[in-house]
Subunit: 111 residues, 4 copies
Amino acid sequence: MAFPSPDLQACIDACLTCLSACETCAAACLNEPDLEMMRACIRLDRDCADLCALTARLLLRGSTLHAQAYALCAAACDACAAECAQHHHDHCQRCAEACRQCAQACRVLAA
Amino acid sequence: MAFPSPDLQACIDACLTCLSACETCAAACLNEPDLEMMRACIRLDRDCADLCALTARLLLRGSTLHAQAYALCAAACDACAAECAQHHHDHCQRCAEACRQCAQACRVLAA
Amino acid sequence: MAFPSPDLQACIDACLTCLSACETCAAACLNEPDLEMMRACIRLDRDCADLCALTARLLLRGSTLHAQAYALCAAACDACAAECAQHHHDHCQRCAEACRQCAQACRVLAA
Amino acid sequence: MAFPSPDLQACIDACLTCLSACETCAAACLNEPDLEMMRACIRLDRDCADLCALTARLLLRGSTLHAQAYALCAAACDACAAECAQHHHDHCQRCAEACRQCAQACRVLAA
């Protein structure tokens, strides 16, 4: 059987895309005039970026911890998506979408 | 209230000690004459090092994802301790002990 | 001006592709029958994966440390490419190519 | 000869202490009333934390990339120390001190 499977590869790609969106969003939030409103967004972007990076790497190496990693990554993505969706900045909206897609890809694998 | 609490600080310290033991063990395993026997140990050291590093950082920053992180870190430590304990190398025995203490510290916080 | 620039985006993409190739190669090497020959490859895959992940993240966030990061990432990629190129395994050959492209992308930015 | 040497172990310890101080400072800055003044501090804390974590791990595993890693880590620590020293918050002052000690430990090894 091919490794990684299509679902696994889709999840790895979603994690790396979400990592990129979260790093971009955190850095852009730190430049925004309404910084006061972006505290939670920056915090969650950081956690989500770290979780997505870790999860992608665990999946790429075929780690036996994958099931728990999906769950933790999906939780990070859900929290980040919910916060980002409340902000009108383009980087927040793009990040929310990347988080939703990553959470969904993690849940496909967990199922 | 002081931050971090004694239990939290103990867990952060245990994670960083375990990260160090796992990195040391993985590198030493890659130099061992009986490399053939060390495949699983190297794999689990890598995962455990990554999880300990992540968990320490999430705890230090007061992340809202802490509960799931404890569980995943404890799972990584349990798996790594079980494997390392089977090998007589000093670095494996030290790593097994660091993993057990880290798993225990994570469970104290989870309780 | 658009951020990231095309060269910057190309380097971020090359880093993430190389991270994936290095993680895949390290895990596959740990499964090879000729494990004895793969010690250096596993070591360099690990370092290169870590450096590529870090560099991608520093570039995505517009870090002021970018110039030094390019140089360190290119050095990691050069070393990993040179080692991987000596092994006939598909994962090693693919990793060597990803490393070469990432080193090149880092040098375009450094220039 | 013992591995790690005293200077190497001191540098690993300094990196892990600095990682902790930077994570703590970044999280605390994100809670400060004068958030507007802390933008650069948060950015540099993040970079410095990532570099200290990476450098500690490369040193622990005896990576061949150590010389370049010292230089990059020292640069991150210098930049973070200079910024943190300008803020009166306890977490900034403690972080500045940890950064100075880590930069110094990196330079001892580089010499």
